[in-house]
Amino acid sequence: MDRRMFFRLLGLGFAAALSGLLPACSPRESAVEQGNRLKILHRGIGPDLADLDPHLATGPGDHSVLSALFEGLITEDPKDLSPAPGVAERWQVSADGLTYTFFLRGNARWSNGDPVTAGDFLASWKRVLSPTLQADNASLLFPVQGAEAYHRGKTGNFHEVGFAAPDSRTVRITLERPTPYFLNLLQHWVWWPVPVAVALLEKYGPVESRGNRWARPGTLVGNGPFTLKEWRAGQRIVVEKSKTYWDAANVQLNAIHFHTIDDVNAEERAFRAGQLHITEALPLAKIDSYRTNAPDVLRIDPYLGTYFYRINVSLPFLNSVAVRRALSLAIDRTALGRSLLHGGQTPTGTFTPPGTGGYVPPAGITSDPDAARALLAEAGFSGGKNAPPIEILYNNSENHRVIAEAIQEMWRRELGIDARLHTMENKSVLNARSAGNYQVLRSGWIGDYNDPMSFLAIWRSDSGNNYTHWANAAYDRLLYEATRTPDAAARLQILQRAEELLLSESPLIPLYHYTHVFLIQPSVQGWHPTLLDHHPYKHVRLIDTAAP
């Protein structure tokens, strides 16, 4: 073999190796097309879940999977999330608003065929409240009489907690005080039952402790419209239509594949390649391009969350109300919205998003540089003279940086205040927040349930989420008064007064209300814009767009 021959052969081998890598190169039926045909929904849900146990799940995104596998006493209306019958076919509320009685339907079943009973709910709530389980969301059960005391270990007797089951199909809950949003609260996954009473959990570890391994494929028993089929960590969670679900006849989807894609760019590429019906998010930089080129797949829904800055009011300079108000008034929110927010977010001067549980926020902080300068002068820092520099702390993200830079410039221009930007990785920021080791802190708050209390309660002086050192007795009193006011309209008015007080004291600077920006294939029907991004799956349909 001479040299030329050798190189020819080598080249040939090379080409063969390369072509062997490529499949039969023709476009295939995409996952979305196949899904439309077989009624399989492909949904991107962001990072993988830590656990499928509804009592231990913490992330807001966990709801997307858990709501397929479990169902509480009540469910949500697909359009406005108002309470709809779930395991309970009906319920009664006593005149004083303190006692809720739920009547369970006879045909509610666990996925192993056992009936779902009142005892299941009680055993589940006992588990959530047990101090040993360390359920992050246990506090959502605190409106119930004696629940907090039981959770804090002040009593070991669960009978003292306001839960009762007069018979196997009746659940009675007695509250500590009237809680007008109690039915909204019940929609949170921490209230959903797990099969404790049917002695399933104890096979896989201690029931009221972490590390129980029941919530895995093969062993997870749920009562929702779907059952768990597969969970490949870091890839996907597959659920299939449940045969035992009481309303199975109305469930239109045969399966849902939840794709745990933790990179928004990868998710967007997967959507374009036809692998996903719905994405969890969309990279900010791509929103404008979709708006122009593919508006039919772009969706911007309102979302129950607020982007704001916390102010550490324990520090000199920032402990002055006038200074804090000046900082807030000096921000041109319209300009922020026009040039920096591409996802349709609404710039805001209030904390609670309008419409939360029928609530109308007060007038809020407007943009008024003249008033801001006057306030600063009143506080003795006219034109920013003698004002110490302020540090804005945020976790590293492009989005936070551009907003912080804009605000830095507005404070410099309008008030003559020197703001410095400081960025850290997320957990370090959270640590600085707990330690009170910040001046101005970039923050966000997502409501747990659709009621203004989910927002306003964090500013109570005893709230673990306050972090600003701002404590105001009048504010606490107003919130207390609101919880004691049975009349819904009067209660909302009290909350409005509370928020007015909060904003006038400005321990926070509201900036904008979130939106949920995502991509969705036209074949998905029944995916309504809801404030909490909840979409009861039994109302979701897929139409076969390719069918003639």
């Binding site: 190796a17 499949p23 656990d51 870091g234 890839q235 990868a266 997967a270 957990k427 673990g464």
Partner: protein, 306 residues
């Protein structure tokens, strides 16, 4: 030979202990902990959580306990995933990274070595320039540019492959190609350099004078010496390629160890960080040892028992 292995093994064990100790304590000095979350939990819950995982013990005790469980082969529970252990997670993810790594490595060698040989034997011809261009491109264009471009062309426009995922055999093609390409470039450069050096030596001229065919010269006389630089490069490179690439795994959403390695640090999942670090360190040590042995076998000038 035995003394060489024994001393290397001892050195490695010591290095591993230092790595474990440093990682263990450095992790604890980083602000924030596994249960630092966006929304506050009650102090009772936090206390109970810390007690459950033994985080309320003095640090030296936690360290001693950790070493103890390591000796039993137990990497402990994951803090982030309450119902999974670190052993399970590593057992899940390592095979994925190994598979991707082996495929990429195979591709890298198949592309890099022939290209390097051709470039060396046809020095300053168009084929040499092509190979050099390939080498420079591979070195200078990062994978996070190549990968999305390939996805754009072959997944989104042609519809041949999935843009991400790790389910079917087709899903292996794009990630292996991109990662293989990144490693093929330096391999082809090193092969070319090594071959050129050998080709210019007297014994090659002698072989040619004696009428040996070009193939015989390349494969019999040149290759063994010419590949030495590649072999010493491959030790650490294989460790890097097998333990996964954060970038490739993120772009293609591959459930490998590389992503876990980075994310566990962000999550402050102490045990998972330690588990991945120990695994990486051990792999690198073993592969470096293997590279040393291979080099000694290929090059009589290197002696194991020095």
């Amino acid at each position: 030979m035995f003394r060489f292995f024994a001393s290397r093994l001892l050195q490695s064990a010591l290095a591993l202990l230092i790595i474990i100790t440093a990682t263990f304590f450095m992790l604890r000095f980083v602000p924030g902990g596994p249960f630092t979350a966006e929304k506050a939990v009650t102090p009772e819950i936090l206390r109970n959580l810390e007690a459950h995982y033994g985080l309320n013990q003095p640090l030296w005790k936690q360290y001693a306990d950790y070493l103890g469980s390591l000796l039993r082969g137990d990497f402990g529970p994951s803090f982030k995933y309450p119902n999974r252990t670190v052993n399970e997670i590593l057992g899940d993810k390592l095979p994925v990274s190994l598979e991707l790594g082996s495929l990429s490595l195979l591709l890298a060698l198949l592309m890099g070595i022939p290209l390097g040989i051709i470039a060396a034997t046809r020095r300053n011809s168009w084929i040499d320039y092509c190979a050099s261009t390939f080498g420079m491109t591979g070195l200078s264009v990062p994978t996070f540019v190549v990968a999305p471009l390939l996805v754009l062309a072959l997944s989104i426009h042609m519809g041949w492959f999935n843009a991400s995922g790790w389910y079917s055999p087709e899903d292996r093609v794009l990630p292996s190609l991109v990662l293989g390409f990144a490693y093929a470039a330096p391999i082809s450069r090193l092969t070319r350099g090594g071959m050129l050096e050998i080709l210019s030596q007297d014994f090659i001229r002698t072989a040619r004078a004696k009428g040996a065919s070009e193939l015989r010269i390349i494969f019999k006389h040149c290759l063994r010496g010419g590949l030495l630089p590649v072999v010493s490069y491959l030790g650490p490179a294989i460790a890097g390629i097998l333990t996964g690439s954060f970038v490739i795994e993120t772009i293609f959403q591959i459930p490998g160890l590389g992503r876990e390695f980075v994310n566990s640090a962000f999550n402050r999942d102490y045990t998972l960080v330690l588990g991945t670090v120990i695994l990486y360190a051990a792999l690198i040590m073993v592969l470096n040892l293997a590279a040393d042995v291979a080099q000694a076998w290929m090059n009589p000038k290197v002696r194991l028992a020095r």
